[in-house]
Symmetry: C2
Subunit: 496 residues, 2 copies
């Protein structure tokens, strides 16, 4: 009996709308299928009678009319869409469809969310400058796009560990992170019950879910990287693919010959996946099986429409190591692999650092775009300085805003516990809100057509002392109101 079947496992998740908002749906007609697509929005009603509709990632949990049962999962909206279509050029991927000129329902849904033309979405996916992570085995997810010409996206890492947390806690983190705006989730669970935790998360997640399969694979060999084999890894990927993982981090660019490039670094290799693969390469003195079997991996990914998130196993772990030869050597290999994956009809994004001082950030984006055919860049921060543990959500938001403005398509959040411990529910919220504001700062700077309206609506309410409107329009209405009420608790202070 898995945790999902075990009705005694209570998962109480947060439901109900964000303060001052209500869930609405925009109906979008799909002329190809005749279907009506229901595109969710967070509607903020204002005291002057108007309203503002905002991009919404929270799924049915904020819909007061939805019935939530974490044991059955959320509705499989995409099931019919997937069933009703066959392969083109041997692939049933969004990339293959886009290249063949097919505008999928996913693309139309995305276009409505972003306020863009469906044809623009299709063309960006076709050239690989955007990806739609959407495993055919995860029909519950609401389609979203990752690409530099769309809203900057935010990923939240969750997952239990051998030390702390349980399946219900991770379920709540999933709902909680998407409530505050996480566009994708990565389940980085380790320890016991990895499979069950993932199953529960995917069946209930309204956003794409990513994983790092090597983490589970190494658990299967008692944590000893040297015992890993291609077969164990491949079977782990298939297991996860069947569950519906939408994108997978693969550290296929950590080549044997790159490992010595890290020996003079201040902080060596800090990526867990990078360390595992470096240890394997050195133990066997062989080239990485992720690299040598990459085309087989592409075929598996193609069959499910899983998106590659090519991992930066040699990313810098300190500002001192940023933009060094180890990092850029790996990036060149990731570029090579990008083109191989695309030739199999598989979507690709590229992971980026980590720790980079402000003046070296733009070079990362420029090189990534040049070497990897403009595949969407997906960076962890980066932290712009290393001197503030406990505040690394902020040191990294500074780098994140900068790198997103330069063209990074998705930001992996960093919580206040980074480098120190495991994030709790509050840390998850702080991380998500911090990254949403960094992403939005970049959307403004890049001139996304729907970005500035939000700022202006809030600023007008501020200037006119419409306090409740200001709270409700905030990324986090509850904190805004609580801070106000600490100084001026009287009701009159919110209306005058």
């Amino acid at each position: 009996m898995t945790a999902l079947d075990d009705r005694s496992v209570q998962s109480t998740v947060t439901t109900g709308p964000i303060t001052g908002s209500e869930k609405v749906y925009h109906d979008v007609h799909d002329p190809d299928s005749g279907r009506t697509l229901r595109v969710p929005q967070r509607r903020v009603g204002l005291s002057n009678g108007s309203h503002l509709d905002l991009y919404d990632t929270s799924g049915p949990y904020t819909d007061t009319t939805a019935s939530i049962d974490v044991h059955t999962g959320i509705p499989a909206t995409r099931e019919d869409w997937i069933a009703g279509r066959g392969p083109v050029d041997g692939a049933s991927t969004q990339l293959a469809y886009a290249k063949a000129g097919v505008t999928t329902p996913e693309m139309r849904f995305i276009a409505a969310r972003e306020g863009m033309d469906p044809e623009f979405v299709r063309s960006e996916v076709a050239i690989g400058r955007a990806v739609i992570p959407a495993n055919r085995c995860h029909p519950e997810s609401e389609p979203m796009v990752i690409g530099k010409n769309f809203l900057v996206k935010v990923n939240a890492n969750i997952g239990n560990s051998a030390v702390t947390s349980s399946v219900p806690e991770e379920m709540e983190k999933m709902v909680w992170a998407t409530r505050w705006g996480a566009d994708t989730l990565m389940d980085l669970s380790t320890g016991k019950r990895i499979h069950e935790t993932r199953e529960r998360i995917i069946r209930n997640s309204p956003v794409p879910v990513g994983t790092v399969p090597i983490y589970q694979a190494v658990e299967k060999v008692d944590g000893d990287p040297a015992k890993l084999t291609w077969e164990i890894y491949r079977d782990t990927v298939i297991e996860q693919a069947e569950q519906g993982v939408d994108y997978m981090t693969v550290h296929a660019g950590v080549l044997l010959r790159y490992v010595p490039l890290t020996t003079e670094r201040v902080t060596g290799i800090v990526s867990r996946g990078g360390s595992i693969m470096a240890a394997w390469c050195l133990a066997h003195h062989e080239e990485s099986f992720l690299y040598t079997h990459f085309e087989e991996l592409c075929e598996i990914f193609r069959d499910y429409d899983i998106t590659f998130s090519l991992g930066d196993g040699l990313r810098p772990g300190s500002v001192a190591d940023a933009n060094d030869e180890a990092q850029f050597a790996e990036l060149r290999t990731l570029g090579e692999l990008t083109h191989i994956a695309r030739s199999h009809g598989v979507q690709v994004m590229i992971e980026g650092p980590g720790h980079v001082p402000l003046h070296k950030i733009a070079e990362n984006v420029r090189l990534e775009e040049e070497l990897c055919g403009e595949a969407p860049f997906y960076t962890l921060g980066p932290l712009a300085t290393d001197i503030a543990p406990g505040y690394d959500h902020i040191t990294s938001a500074i780098g994140a805003a900068q790198v997103a403005w330069s063209g990074t398509a998705m930001l992996c959040y960093v919580t206040p516990k980074e480098h120190l411990g495991l994030p709790n529910r509050d840390d998850v919220k702080t991380g998500v809100i911090t990254y949403k504001l960094a992403a939005h700062s970049a959307d403004l700077a890049k001139g996304h057509p729907r970005a500035q309206e939000w700022d202006d609506t809030l600023s007008r309410s501020r200037f006119e002392f419409r306090w409740q409107d200001q709270f409700h329009l905030a990324l986090d209405p509850d904190t805004a109101q609580a801070y106000h009420d600490e100084t001026l608790p009287a009701e009159g202070a919110k209306t005058a």
Copy 2:
């Protein structure tokens, strides 16, 4: 009897070193006077036997050998230096000395703090690209420099209000803000006991103190801007000058003809000083008395060596209003006033916005430098987006890091309560730490010679799992350790 004399007013302030640090002094010989200057440093001892000395703003409060009595104030170290020198070219200002080729003890002290050559400090002050705010009536302050070629500085606003807080609370905020790294303080007190609060703060402040004299002047006319006169304002400035205020914000660039430029804005005029002066100009339909009497003001400032902080009364209050004609018209006038002040031997810095999206930040710095003869730029944030009240320390740290990297010399902090309420002691710390990390990110990007060593020392301790060293090297050791201990409280987890 003033609050300072009233021994029944208990001011308990935080004393003792920061966790893991000790106060040390570097002795610096001044060849001109034969004096030995004692330059304070925060020394972090490491478990491998080495140590790192860091720039220290905390004054005697972190020195275990110092005896603190807030009723008598801290030692007047500069008293002898000031007494022993006369005017050059009619002025006893750091600018006048620098232009005459004199390297003051203040400049030597600063050079040692910054790791720079004294002659470089002198030359930067001489051309007005750096300022040393040091009123001759504030001999207690430890000299510091504000200029783009030095460490980026952080100002913390404190001050009581009619609504909340007391003199002892503001005293503690002063000690608390400088403990965590505030380089200057602005006392923005309103309501009762403005004079007494300021007196107590200045006598006990190891850092320069700034004010906005128009705030007190308008209290003297019952809060009605129309009743203000040049004479009331002038007398207020002299009152504050005698107390030792080191720099004053003067909104002399809000000209009558600029006020109509703000009518089409989303958020009109949001600067309090700007609003007061705009109201005065409109009520009298006359040019601002700050502008028409500017040369008289210069003479007062020169006599005390007060530094102008020319205020941006027409700064944008939302990203929508950034870089508009009202803002830049005022900036041109501030440039004109800069040259007048300098001709009187008076030091000048220029205040900047506020709310600016990322892509418009660099233009602010470029124009300020061009129009104001490279006078040090002193910005409030700026916030890179308006959608996150409750998190404006972060939205503004993103803008602050960017603007400092572009050349801003000092950043005015923003706390989580910005736009919502009055900061408490915790908010002050969060604001200061957030701005220190933003400033340091810019120091790294600009290549300040002492910046990277701190990051590398911390990163090495992290890579070698020297947890205590990592905590002690952090900007905020207590929070770093507390976050670690939430997950892994055992002592063993900090050593292995």
